[in-house]
Amino acid sequence: MRRDAQAVILLLVGGGMLRLAWTGDYLNYVKPYAFWLIVPAGIVLIAVAAITGWNSWRAKREADDGHGHHGEPKVAWLLLAPVVGMLLVAPDALGSYEAERTGTVVGAEENRSTYPELPDDVDPVPLTLLDYAARAIFDEGQTLEGHRIQLRGFILYEGDEPQLARMVVSCCAADARPVKIGFEGELPADLEQDQWVEVIGEYTTRQGRDEINGELVPYIEVESITNIPTPENEYQ
């Protein structure tokens, strides 16, 4: 592979990463903090691409020795695959397709011995699905009693039964796993798969089992379900 081709590949990889950071699409793949990793790395790659391109242009003007033609890594061509992925395909964040096939996760924080009390002056209290599930399962809902809870996630159908789900990411989307919460009570009839909703409700002792991994699935007593636009960061 020639030097100028290498420079273009470096430019595409670095540029693709900076574009993800610029548009905010990086949140479909990695955690928010990764912004501070992606941006410097992209700048370094673009700088290396610029220097490589400049050197190969200058070398050609001075002496047409065509150096760097042999023995350079052929495997570098494969770097075009993530470039196609980042710039052309730009896949959406993982959603119901994954959640249907993966068992619910009850979280790394299960061993926490105490759960902080929820604030009394906020109503309803916004919680992450993971936090709600952990409080419901490992703390038997003690800190949830007497509060109206607000949860945000997407609708997932397990058979005929709609559930609230959200993907939890610990590193990047490759390890995304769903948290699932069941609904108790009257539901609107038109809940569509993948629709993002805000659920307001109260803790209920009812629990179910995930069919895939047998983990406990807590339920929520539904007061209202409102459709909301897809959030910027779909993971938690």
Binding site: I9, L10, M17, A41, L45, P91, R112, C171, A174
Partner: protein, 343 residues
């Protein structure tokens, strides 16, 4: 992604002039030069974009490509850090430096290198190119490999993230550090006794007369393109396994004490999670025993599909065929031992 290869084969007709080239290709060369092939690929990619989006609209393809891009986007910054460090070592550290700092006797150099691994605050994508640079700079391979294995497992970021992932369970942190260090040192000593230099096939760096900075930029460019290409292979395999292997297969295995440990060790190899976050994934595998979770965290930074591909690229295939199974066995043995002693 196979379509890239087939695309370049289909379009191997040197008709369209290279648009991205700074100067036209020298006329004496016949056939397609790489810059022309690249330009053709780019034009094809842009014109075929609606078709690409259609192909990747299927949910399984979306999930696969999201995972693939995710692994790449997460790993590239650490790879950049690693290749910048390794190129800086190659360009700025004088050849005699490591001879002075690293103990002469390999038996002693190995544990020193293992503990020194704690200073590189990055995951395994960074440590592979750094180890390659150390070997080229004259460090005994045994010590460099111990550094490469220990560093992603015992550096401060990983220790803190393990601590956070297992709250109220600090023995998990001690067990992880102890098992990783023991296995890394064991492999270093094993290499010192049995390893053969001819297994190694280090890609040569060209000598640069233009000075240290030219060597730095050239090193970064070469190492990134090289290791990055192999990282892409690993990312594709990891994304495929994560998307295709149903989780239900794991359930019956989790309940068995020995099979559970082996299962999570194999899972660590297959899913190729970055060592800075594997503790969170391990903690979420609640069906498994603590020793099995420990094996997941010790094996992952030692060997996984992405690392095996990168090691094959950095040190040669003959090396990787021998090193990968050894690292796996050593990591499983060390975690089983520490699991019995500490957990």
């Amino acid at each position: 992604m196979p379509h890239n290869g087939s695309v370049s084969a289909e379009l191997a007709k040197p008709e369209t002039p290279a648009e991205t080239s700074a100067t036209p290709a020298p006329p004496r060369r016949r056939g397609l030069t790489s810059i022309e092939a690249l330009a053709l690929l780019l034009i094809f990619g842009l014109t075929a974009r609606p078709g690409l989006t259609e192909i990747f609209a299927a949910p399984a393809a979306q999930a696969w490509s999201a995972r693939f891009v995710a692994v790449c986007v997460q790993a590239f910054p650490f790879l950049v850090l690693g290749v910048v460090l390794s190129a800086a070592i190659a360009a700025f550290v004088p050849a005699g430096f490591f001879h002075k700092v690293v103990p002469k006797r390999t038996a002693l150099a190995v544990p020193v290198a293992g503990v020194a691994g704690a200073v590189l605050p990055a995951c395994e994508c960074a440590s592979v190119p750094v180890a390659g640079a150390l070997v080229r700079r004259g460090v005994a391979p045994a010590a460099a490999f111990t550094f490469m294995l220990a560093s992603p497992a015992i550096n401060p970021i990983v220790v803190v993230s393990t601590f956070v992932a297992f709250p109220g369970n600090p023995e998990m942190v001690y067990a992880r550090v102890a098992a990783s260090l023991a296995a890394a040192i064991g492999i270093g000593w094993l290499w010192a006794r049995l390893g053969k230099t001819e297994w190694l096939n280090l890609p040569k760096h060209r000598h640069h007369d233009d000075g240290k900075w030219a060597a730095l930029w050239s090193g970064i460019r070469h190492d990134f393109l090289h290791a990055g290409g192999y990282l892409v292979i690993g990312a594709a395999i990891a994304a495929s396994l994560n998307t295709l292997v149903p989780e239900t297969w794991l359930q019956p295995i989790a309940d068995h004490p020995v099979l559970g440990v082996l299962a999570l060790a194999v899972l660590a190899v297959l899913v190729s999670i970055c060592s800075e976050s594997d503790a969170f994934v391990a903690a979420s595998l609640t069906q498994f025993s603590p020793t099995a979770k420990l094996a997941f965290m010790v094996v992952g930074p030692f060997i996984d599909v992405k690392l095996a591909a990168m090691q094959a690229g950095t040190f040669g295939r003959r090396f990787a065929f021998r090193f990968a199974p050894t690292a796996f066995v050593a990591a499983v043995a060390a975690s089983a031992l520490m699991g019995v002693v500490l957990l």
